[in-house]
């Protein structure tokens, strides 16, 4: 007689890459919806084009490196990368801009390193930084937020994205974001009181951006409560940014924005909940994640306040990606049973 013995684990979890990615995409929907309400069809066109290019680039690379194409496409990681990059780009970006960004994100930052799980840098942020350095003019043309009335119809959006951008419409459509505006004005010696009456400043942060940020944060907090990702990195990043900004505001309120403005403007919330939490390019231990997040928060504040770029989230993430292996090296979880100096179990 033969007894079947089954070894543990007996209860299998429901986690797979595609399920996690689906949850992340679902958590992005509130933010995407609010962004669409403020900026119109340009947000959707960005996402559709980016996802299309990303799937094509991923498939091409998988074919060339002779890996299973369908299985990797179905894990949805390329879709998440493309979606994040599309949300970070100004709405109504021309198609070639999106294509260049996606090629750098998917081909250079991800597939050349061996695909999902090996990329040392966050692919979406690599794509964003390449575009920011190569095409700074296109990367700062954000449309003026108009709630509920899209500035361009669908047909106009397509025309705009695939070619004819007339400069007169461009001037009418776009305006400086609060971060751009305050960087330029503070650089010319203005004080915050003088510039905060500008239309780009809202109640808490920047007009429209504050609500988009809140929507991203809602999605992100839901992900943390569903235990899709740990809380350490986003909390450390936001706390560091908020703390530094508050200290400097106490020091000189006419030159430094407060913590709430910093947290609710630019790409901070998107970065905190969807970029810094990247399990591949970040740190592996919880202590490491705290250092990683704190580093990103501090670098964002430094680059925004004293650097040449109005928003530093993408650079801060790449710089900390660089440091992540080193942080991991120093925050290794001790092997069970290791004796520390004090004689305690590590």
């Amino acid at each position: 007689m033969k007894f079947q013995t089954v070894s543990s684990p007996h209860k299998l979890g429901q986690t797979s890459v595609s399920r996690v990615m689906l949850k992340v995409l679902a958590a992005l929907i509130p933010g995407t919806a609010v962004a669409t309400a403020f900026f119109g069809w340009g947000v959707i066109s960005n996402i559709v084009l980016a996802v299309g290019f990303a799937l094509a680039a991923e498939a091409a690379m998988l074919l060339m490196t002779q890996r299973p194409v369908l299985r990797s496409l179905c894990d949805l990681s390329a879709v998440v990368t493309a979606w994040l990059l599309a949300l970070a780009l100004p709405a109504y970006s021309p198609f070639w801009l999106i294509a260049v960004g996606i090629i750098f994100a998917i081909v250079f930052a991800k597939q050349l390193y061996g695909g999902l799980g090996y990329n040392p840098f966050n692919p979406a942020m690599v794509g964003y930084v390449v575009l920011l350095i190569s095409f700074p003019v296109y990367m700062t043309q954000w449309p003026e937020p108009t709630l509920g009335q899209p500035p361009l119809s669908i047909a106009e959006t397509l025309q705009w994205v695939f070619g004819q951008r007339s400069d007169s419409t461009l001037d009418a459509l776009t305006g400086a974001t609060a971060l751009d505006y305050s960087k330029i004005q503070l650089g010319q010696g203005a004080t915050l009181n003088q510039i905060q009456s500008h239309a780009a400043f809202g109640h808490l942060g920047a007009t429209a951006w504050e609500w988009i940020a809140v929507a991203y944060a809602l999605g992100g907090v839901a992900l943390i409560f569903l235990r899709v990702m740990p809380w350490h990195a986003p909390v450390a990043m936001l706390a560091t940014l908020f703390g530094l900004a508050s200290v400097f505001q106490l020091f000189d309120a006419s030159q430094f924005h407060g913590g709430i403005f910093h947290s609710l403007s630019g790409g901070v919330m998107l970065g905190a909940f969807f970029i810094v939490t990247d399990p591949v390019s970040g740190c592996t231990s919880n202590r490491g994640r705290l250092y990683f997040g704190a580093g990103v928060g501090a670098l964002v504040f430094i680059i925004r306040t004293w650097g040449g770029y109005p928003d530093g989230v993408a650079f801060a993430v790449l710089l900390m990606n660089m440091a992540a292996p080193m942080i991991d090296y120093y925050t290794k979880t001790p092997v069970f049973g290791t004796q520390t100096k004090g004689g305690e179990r590590g």
Binding site: A109, V126, I133, Y309, L319
Partner: protein, 198 residues
């Protein structure tokens, strides 16, 4: 007065470590950056050895430039003179390491004498002359360049150790993917541009 001086030294340090990092922004000293970054331990040893030579060479070349070459009107001998100083310093470091850290000496091998030809070392000495630095400024400039070099070399080595496990496509294994990584690191360092207005 004293605090102004400190601030100016601080700015030189910040500038050489981050904003104008010798490796990632000015692209000097790439050979050891690529050559000895495969293992974290050797990279740390190399970084410290180069840092020592860089700082001393920066100060020594300033002294030679300002007390020998310029008074005697021999500035056309600047390049060979600086290379001679660097070579002497490297020889000294090599002898010291041979005695004190023979294992590291063997591991570093040919790369140790090659510090002589590290363009960052000569670059710092020549930039000191070009920028008309004072002795203290030259010392701080050399030290900042050394710290910046150490920082990126050690970070790069840690990244490359992790890359060893990655399933990099055959054509990109080894040096090519290291080059791409270095390029992406340089991209990240562009974020520091404008941090200090000159």
């Amino acid at each position: 007065m004293f605090s102004d001086l400190l601030v100016s030294y601080g700015l030189i340090l910040l500038g050489t470590i981050l904003v104008n990092n010798f490796v990632l922004v000015q692209f000097l000293g790439l050979c050891p950056f690529m050559g000895v970054s495969k293992k974290l331990e050797t990279a740390t040893g190399m970084a410290l050895a180069t840092a020592f030579v860089l700082t001393l060479a920066s100060a020594a070349s300033w002294v030679v430039e300002n007390s020998i070459l310029q008074p005697l009107d021999l500035v056309y001998l600047r390049t060979p003179a600086f290379i001679l100083i660097i070579a002497v310093l490297v020889q000294f470091t090599e002898m010291f390491m041979h005695k004190k850290a023979p294992l590291l000496y063997n591991v570093l091998g040919i790369f140790l004498p090659l510090i002589t030809t590290n363009c960052a070392v000569l670059g710092v000495a020549l930039l000191n002359v070009q920028k008309d630095h004072s002795f203290m400024q030259a010392l701080v400039y050399g030290f900042g360049a050394a710290v910046g070099f150490c920082l990126v070399l050690v970070l790069f080595a840690a990244m490359r150790e992790r890359l060893e496990a990655a399933e990099v496509p055959a054509a990109f294994k080894g040096a090519p993917i290291a080059m791409i990584t270095a390029g992406l690191m340089s991209l990240a360092f562009m974020g520091f541009s404008g941090l200090i207005s000159h």
